[in-house]
């Protein structure tokens, strides 16, 4: 567990603040009249000059005009020299002022563009949008500069870099600048070495590509530096690949753990085979759906609160269903695990069909609150907020459960009853009550899991089915009756799955894991962290 949620929290908080508070830039309103004159000359070199003028003007509509030119939507008149562009909808705008033109006169011709001009337009667009208030556009502009290697853009890149505050755009700008410096002819040696160092720092595929491209043409003395840089980036990327796999594994592991954690109580601690466990998860997911529906129709501003509201409700609903199952069916079957298995499977069929009848057989839409969507990057790893929160949430649930078992009277009674039912009963513990509560707790936790899983899985009547086998595997693998074992097993299986996936593919990887588990259970029938001793034999 190398996750430091605090650091990530700070990072994403910062990102949010900066994204909102972008400085707006003052810009001149018009394009010099000369631009129209040059266009009217109708020659490729004149047009290129016009592109330069438009790009240099800094007018807010310069981008739209250039894009129109590239798309052959820019028209001109020879006498008097004038130009307009049409937008995609067909409305016309004056090139110089950017104002809408109601009825353009007849006799206009299309500004012709060839490939060279198109390149120039792209480069100009790249530079232009480097200063756009929209970070997405700035990012694309920086990437455009990187591709075009337009030396003229270097100054703009420097300007943009000085202002840039968004991390991802900054990285792109740094790469663009380094690429320009390395491909240009003017920079001195220390600047070039600085550029290489920047790329090594960034260490992503783009940086690697740039270095590889400049290597053949580079100065003989600079070559070793570049080669060392390439090697360094490759190392970093290999480590990052591992980190990526681990992150995906942890993410999958947290889902497995979340689904299995309730089962670790009902199966692991009580020894009850609850085949309807997956349906408890499903109930939790549907509670989330209902909560969101109510919020959508009655209080849309509370939408971000839908998950915090759904969690206790899911716990109560699933817990209540769990207690009903325990009181109604399971208590008659203690000591007969195979019968319990069959009866609870029947319950799972009934619950699935009930949900199908009420909510329909298709997937229901459960929305993601704002904090669950989007992602951020740490050291080149893309971390989605949804997955991160689920991991954090899983660990919190796990910690709470440990606390309940270790530090509450109910937890003490639970452990007493599961270890020696008759003795506990003799000491005045109401064993039946404890049984019901324990089962309710396990089911309730499964319900909570459903709230989280509704964010990443389809909410359908079959939701539970997809988790039940995995959950049992996790609990059995970890060692029955051992919560820490469950934790380790879930993350081990999660990571193993993700390690196998690139070699074997997702489905085959899963099959392989199942087969390995089957073999493992035969080797150690009582799991990774098995209890030993005479008590186990019972």
């Amino acid at each position: 567990m190398t996750v430091s949620p605090l650091r990530w929290l700070c990072a994403c908080g910062l990102w949010l603040i900066l994204a909102v508070a972008q400085p707006l830039q003052a810009q001149p309103a018009t394009i010099p009249a000369d631009a129209a004159t040059r266009l009217a000359e109708d020659g490729f070199s004149a047009t290129e000059a016009a592109i330069g003028l438009i790009a240099a003007s800094g007018a807010p509509h310069a981008v739209a005009a250039l894009e129109a030119m590239a798309d052959r939507r820019l028209l001109f008149w020879k006498d008097p020299a004038r130009a307009i562009w049409r937008d995609a909808a067909g409305a016309s705008f004056d090139l110089l002022t950017g104002e809408a033109v109601a009825s353009p006169p007849a006799g206009a011709s299309l500004v012709r563009v060839n490939n060279r001009l198109r390149g120039a337009i792209q480069a100009a667009l790249g530079t232009l949008t480097l200063l756009s208030p929209d970070p997405q556009r700035r990012l694309r502009a920086a990437e455009a500069v990187l591709r075009s290697r337009d030396q003229a853009a270097l100054a703009d890149v420097e300007t943009a870099l000085a202002r840039e505050t968004v991390a991802r755009v900054r990285v792109a700008l740094l790469e663009a600048r380094a690429a320009l410096i390395l491909t240009g002819t003017t920079a001195d040696r220390p600047t070039r070495e600085g550029a290489i160092a920047t790329l090594v720092d960034v260490a992503d595929t783009t940086a690697l590509t740039v270095l590889r491209q400049v290597l053949p043409t580079a100065d003989a003395t600079l070559k070793p530096v570049i080669e060392a840089g390439i090697a360094s980036i490759e190392r970093t990327m290999a480590i990052r690949d591992v980190a990526q796999t681990v992150w995906f594994g942890l993410s999958l592991g947290s889902v497995l753990l979340l689904a299995a954690i309730g089962l670790a109580i009902t199966f692991g601690v009580m020894g009850v085979i609850n085949m309807a466990h997956g349906e408890m998860v499903m109930i939790g997911a549907y509670v989330t759906f209902v909560v969101q529906e109510v919020i959508r129709t009655h209080a849309p501003h509370l939408f971000d609160w839908s998950l915090p509201i759904a969690i206790p409700l899911a716990f109560v609903c699933a817990g209540a269903v769990g207690i009903a199952i325990e009181r109604g069916i399971i208590r008659f079957l203690y000591g007969r695990p195979l019968e319990t298995l069959l009866a609870t499977f029947g319950v799972s069929l009934v619950l699935q069909q009930a949900i199908r009848t009420w909510f329909g057989p298709t997937n229901r839409e459960v929305g993601a609150p704002s904090y669950m969507s989007g992602f951020f990057e740490v050291w080149g790893l893309q971390i989605t907020y949804g997955r991160l929160w689920i991991l954090v949430f899983t660990l919190v649930v796990f910690a709470c459960l440990l606390l309940v078992l270790r530090a509450t009277p109910l937890g003490l009674q639970m452990r007493a009853v599961t270890q020696n039912r008759r003795m506990a009963s003799a000491m005045g513990i109401r064993t039946r009550f404890v049984d019901a509560m324990t089962f309710g707790l396990g089911s309730g936790i499964a319900g909570i899991a459903g709230v989280a899983l509704s964010q990443i899985d389809n909410v359908s009547p079959n939701l539970g089915q997809s988790y039940i086998i995995d959950s049992f595997m996790v609990v059995v693998f970890g060692g029955v009756g051992n919560l820490w074992g469950t934790l380790v097993a879930a993350f081990t299986l999660g990571i193993a799955n993700k390690v196998l996936e690139p070699f074997a593919g997702a489905v085959l990887g899963k099959i392989l894991i199942l087969i390995l588990l089957i073999l493992f259970i035969q080797k150690r029938p009582r799991g990774l962290f098995a209890l030993k001793g005479r008590a186990v034999e019972q």
Binding site: I273, I329, F332, L333, P337, L338, E339, T340, L341, L342, A343, F345, G346, V347, S348, L349, V350, L351, Q352, Q353, A354, R356, T357, I469, F472, M473, V476, V507, L508, K510, I511, L514, I515, L517, I518, L519, I521, Q522, K523, P525
Partner: protein, 374 residues
Amino acid sequence: MITLRLMRALAGREQVFLALLAALIVLVPVGNLVMPPDSVLHIPTGTVVLLGKYVCYAILAIALDLVWGYCGILSLGHGAFFALGGYAMGMYLMRQIGTRGVYGHPVLPDFMVFLNWKELPVTWWGFDWFGYAMLMVVLVPGVLAFVFGWLAFRSRVTGVYLSIITQALTYALLLAFFRNDMGFGGNNGLTDFKDILGFPVQAQSTRVGLFVLSVATLAATFGLARWLVGSTYGKVLVAIRDAESRTRFLGYRVEHHKLLVFTLSAMLAGIAGALYVPQVGIINPSEFAPTNSIEAVVWVAVGGRGTLVGAALGAVVVNALKTVFTTGALAPYWLFALGGLFVLVTLALPQGILGLLERRRAAKSTAVSPKAAE
């Protein structure tokens, strides 16, 4: 408790069961082929196929009852053996299509042509020969069960642990058979069969023939199982079911006994699957679904585990119920009924329908003639 008493009491019932099978063999062909369609005694071909399906399920149920009812091994993966037998038969039937497929390829089945395969994978070699295919029908499930059982029983995986890993087994196979590159037709499975041993599969007479064959196989399966459970081996199995550790201390190699019955049962399940496929005309990966296996368990539970007639009866009763439910307005309620059946049978009818009948009869007979004093 029950086994011994039922064993004796059921001797009569077993005769009834076999007589019923004999009647089916005679009456169904007559009803379908001889009686004119407008006669009240006419049995439509659809009904024959339906009955044939039930009979195949009954074979599966008896196979499952051998391991669960008698030996206490609750296998949640018997559907996998059934499906494997079905696939072996399906592969034979696919090869019989020959050039009559959509693409008209002389060797490759349609789906392989569609996937741009150039030659027949090794797994398909020999399946154009009926004898080989039939060997595979029993061999593939048998070998899988043997290897799986050898590993599991040797390391003493018992009870629910075994149930869960058998379920994982069929789940893994489900995932595998869904894949196109496995070469078993992927999602769509194997279908569009043309003929079997030269007889067109769709023909009325073939269907009746398959039905008769299924009933005969059911009778043979019953006979084999009855011989087995009636021997001392049956007593050893029950001993293992009731007190495995005690049996071991008596010097029995429990794992060998379990392995034999498990493998045998898997082979019988494979045969059931092989008879099932030409009658329903399709085999696809959904047959591996864990739900199918567990549904088979409930047939046995409903009929009465530990009684062979009960298992067969349960398969027919539950599936007849299913047909009634799923073909009418009641369709949405079938899963409620099935789920309820699971709960009901475990809570109220631990010995199934036959157990209930037996208790009634026993109650009546004790009322008439009180047991001799001890």
